[in-house]
């Protein structure tokens, strides 16, 4: 009985939240903001995109999951780049005081810069790449923005390694590489994965901005185009898609992260 109750709460209570949000949306659409499509209208206008999620009718007129897929691929590339660059920087920061002294200030300065500010610079950097410029610029922006949580968490993780573990390595006379592979990396993994999860969240945030500005096909690009085309219902469709995908990604990373929790 209690178990059933708990399960019900699990499903029921979030439903109440969603219900309330939809109610407010409905009320807003009929009172304050007449331009805002009501939930029902949003559904009617988006049906095509949801029910045929992989259909391709034109460059900027495709099923919503197809757009999501494009976005995910771009995110995956940029995210991979962020991890490949960020993790070693994190280790260096954690291991070397000198390195930290040299680079920490510049990291602190670059970290708060918005993706919207990085993107034009990315486009300028890859001007020579011709048609590829927009993709490379977007990748650059994702990598630069998503890298920081990985960098900082890895550094914190390395600094937090208990002296005991290092003492074990010292008593066993493990070589530098062996200490790194057998002690440093496993001891830092939980922190690294926290960084990876946060980085993925940011990468997904950035993709939308990047697509909006470059006009690439994807959820963000579609959103911006539909705004310009005055199809406001599709904006909401895109927002919901972005939200749910982001949520799913975060959950996925949480599962992975938990697998690496040692203690």
């Amino acid at each position: 009985m209690k178990l059933l109750r708990a399960k019900l709460d699990w499903i029921l209570l979030p439903m109440i939240g969603f219900g309330a949000a939809i109610a407010i949306w409905q009320i807003l659409s009929v009172t304050v903001c007449k331009e805002l499509p009501s939930p029902w209208r949003t559904w009617l206008e988006s049906r095509e995109y949801i029910l045929k999620p992989f259909e391709k009718r034109g460059e900027m007129d495709q099923g919503i999951l197809r757009f999501t897929w494009y976005s995910l691929i771009l995110v995956a590339k940029g995210y991979a780049l962020a991890l490949l660059v960020g993790t070693p920087i994190g280790f260096l920061l954690g291991l070397s005081v000198v390195f930290t002294r040299i680079f920490d200030p510049i990291i602190q300065v670059l970290r708060p810069v918005s993706p919207l500010a990085w993107l034009p610079l990315g486009l300028v950097l890859f001007l020579g790449a011709g048609k590829q410029a927009s993709e490379l610029g977007a990748l650059f922006t994702i990598a630069v923005c998503a890298m920081w949580p990985t960098v900082l968490n890895t550094a914190v993780g390395v600094r937090a390694i208990p002296q005991d573990y290092l003492n074990v390595a010292r008593v066993l006379k493990l070589s530098r590489t062996k200490t790194f592979v057998k002690v440093l990396i496993p001891a830092t993994l939980p922190y690294m994965f926290t960084g990876f999860r946060l980085s993925l969240g940011i990468a997904w945030l950035v993709i939308v901005a990047a697509e909006m500005l470059t006009g690439r096909p994807g959820v963000g690009g579609f959103l911006w185009q539909e705004y310009n085309a005055l199809n406001y219902a599709h904006i909401i469709l895109c927002i919901l898609t972005i939200g749910f995908v982001g949520f799913a990604l975060d959950r996925l990373m949480s599962v992975v992260e938990r697998r690496f929790k040692t203690a």
């Binding site: 003492n167 066993l172 057998k182 001891a187």
Partner: protein, 303 residues
Amino acid sequence: MAHLELKAVSKGFGDPSQRTEVLHDINLEIKEGEFVAIVGFSGAGKTTLISMIAGLTKPDAGSVLLRGKPVTGPGPDRGIVFQNYSLLPWLTVYENVALAVDQCFPDWDPARRQAHTERYIAMVNLTPAKTKRPSELSGGMRQRVSVARALAMEPEVLLMDEPLGALDALTRATLQDEFARICQETRKTVVLITNDPDEGIYLSDRIIPLSAGPGATLGPSIEVNLERPRDRKALNHLSRFKEIRREVIEYLVASNRKKRVEVSRALVLPDIEPEDLSVPRATFGARKHPIRRSEIKRENVEI
């Protein structure tokens, strides 16, 4: 020549301005195959002492010699059982021990290394828990893994820092018996740090009290000339056992008393007149307050 020797070793912590000397003028000589127990209060500097023997920290003054050669750093020739186990939590019991074995005997073939690892896990009776991670083990089991790891390195000297400190009396006794058996089997030079004189006497050939800190130093060595194997129950009734124990404890207590600083203060008694309970409390009207004797203006004394 002594197997392990400490000569006038001192160690302190803190910046030069407010440095406290933890260990002062430690001298110790240990013969090959001897089991020495060092007993001391918590915070006296026992871990500091054993870290210096292990080479994990450097003494400020004096030197640590292993077979006459100064110790410059840690190495697998001095296996250490850390006070806090220091197992790697992402490795299983087997992997924790195997890491040490693979590192110490790189030129053995894998089958031999595996057999060696298994043998030491079996020695501490942990074969059933071989594939478990430290987080799934009890404190005593973790401790035994740590012991197995140190023994499997086949070190010249085995250093144990309160290896049973965190355990309940019952588990403690069991593990002490295991230690006695293992040490009998392997005949190693052992330094055991403990805060329990009985444990020290039960296991060692020689027991040395470490005086209370700061500035702790080793007291007189007391030979534990009791026959092995020792029977824990019978031991308690031996007069020699009681004598050793008294000597150790007296030294420790005396060293602690010396450290205590005397403070004298005036004793201030509460200055309050006891309430007369025979007088009923007035529900309304004037409330009764506690009265200080010094505030009483007039006192009626019956004659």
